[in-house]
Symmetry: C2
Subunit: 338 residues, 2 copies
Amino acid sequence: VRIVLVGFGNVGRTLAAILADPSPYAGLKGLDVSVVAITTGSHGTLANPAGIALGPALASFERAGGFTPADPDHSGLATLEVLTRLDYDAVVEMSPLDVVRRGEPAISHVRAALERGRHVVAANKGPVAWSYRSLVELAARTGARFLHEATVMDGVPVFNLARHGLRGATVLSLEGILNSTTNWVLGAVEQGRGVEEAVAEARRAGVAEADPSLDLDGWDAAVKLAALANAVMGGELLPEDVERRTLASLDLDRVRGCPARGRRLKMVAAARRDGGRILGRVEAREIPLDHPFALVEGTSSILRITTDLAGSISVVEEAPDLRTTAYGVLSDLMSLAD
Amino acid sequence: VRIVLVGFGNVGRTLAAILADPSPYAGLKGLDVSVVAITTGSHGTLANPAGIALGPALASFERAGGFTPADPDHSGLATLEVLTRLDYDAVVEMSPLDVVRRGEPAISHVRAALERGRHVVAANKGPVAWSYRSLVELAARTGARFLHEATVMDGVPVFNLARHGLRGATVLSLEGILNSTTNWVLGAVEQGRGVEEAVAEARRAGVAEADPSLDLDGWDAAVKLAALANAVMGGELLPEDVERRTLASLDLDRVRGCPARGRRLKMVAAARRDGGRILGRVEAREIPLDHPFALVEGTSSILRITTDLAGSISVVEEAPDLRTTAYGVLSDLMSLAD
């Protein structure tokens, strides 16, 4: 598979490092991937139809903070030009999520590839959250595949579980703890820290991003919930239609007082059917200590899927790292061979 | 799909009831199944190439405690004769597990169908636990499929999760609470009941079978662990090679003393790689109360899958019923259409 990487942040570089040397991972033996372009929003582009040498590209990117004309495969093409002009089999969309632009420019990237019949593996949640149905229809028309396993819960195969494991069952509702930063910060607040102090700690621990507002305002969870509702419940839920409670709106004394009452306050993202529609909320819930959600600490996450026929199934991800997100992409790349 | 049902116990009858009237389940709309034979070990056989009327068959079976010559489609064929002589597309193996006979006669049933190139959907764990590799090889030779989602954790798609969701990842170890009866009885013992009293209660609650010894002796968990090790870890673990602790070997005071020390005693089935082999154990473990395994109550179950690339993923099934096991079979039947 000849692939284009869009975005070269933490996940992209972790993926490139695994692809540069997959030998420690026995299961990747069958993976035959050649990266023919790496393109970023503001850190330059590399392109080489014979395949980019990933080790040197990684080293040079980290040294210079981006690709420069000094790189052997340096290209002047912008991302959309790469996707519409170059030859490739699949694109891996890993550009940063832009909530204000409602998933753009990632949606245009995905569309450009699908229109040419090229497969898409999305780690960016925007296209699944804002344009799922039209992109799936486009893919069906051109014979391409639109996969997006890494968009929610990193490498936990929530979308594959629903697609391959819940055939014939109807998902009635979903609820989960889907945002690491909020969950991490709530844990620290529970132990007595202030929100700002906790956020600073989360940033130092590499959990929160430089600007964690998308997490703290519930946008990250709302976008993930919309992605799940669209792909797993067959709905059309937009992130902006998800009712959001922000971390700032919480009474910190209530957070701290919960454990004494045998409870913990958690931010839960929940979607349920209401007639033909799907309603979504990101809300603070008091969880009893003997409920599985109460055990989800720090960067771990959980999703509970309630169905008509298959009962109630939960999946839990424990302490993911960058490799598990990169794995979500790898898993999709391996599925393309089907 | 023209199917044969082997075994007509609780799961078989629940499946037949759903197939008789799938209209409450929107997701089953695409399911096109005709039951051309129902065959049991000692409760008779029905066969009709045009499809058995399932409603009347269920009613008559429950009235008479089996099929009788009074049934319109009554047949004198034994199970193996049905499988080798009649025409069908797939067999659903739901006969009772026989540990003493190491999975027979179910293994012969599966083999008879696969040899004729007919698909197999197994709810009986024996074939996956004792003969996985040879059956998979046979299926590959004849172009048939051997599916077995309902064998472990009912309708929770553990095998589909591993097959479709963990591509490229290597499963390093598995651990789970896989046997309902033991878990239910341990909970009652913790609350002060004796083992016999608790078993009697479990029987009355419909959790334990009339003869629960396979559960209490750890055989059921060992067979499930072997099935998982074979199909998910690519090993060749036999149930008799799983080290087993029985419930009878536990010190009841230790079970009851655990909560005071912030722990619960749970029977955990665990498999791990040891060089080229896979080692399996069913053992009593003291689980801290803030560990997800401590929350698994009664008939619920959990499986934790630790991988090289995808991190550590757990799946939890909450309070299954007969319908969720029947769903495991339905899910496989729907996969056959791929």
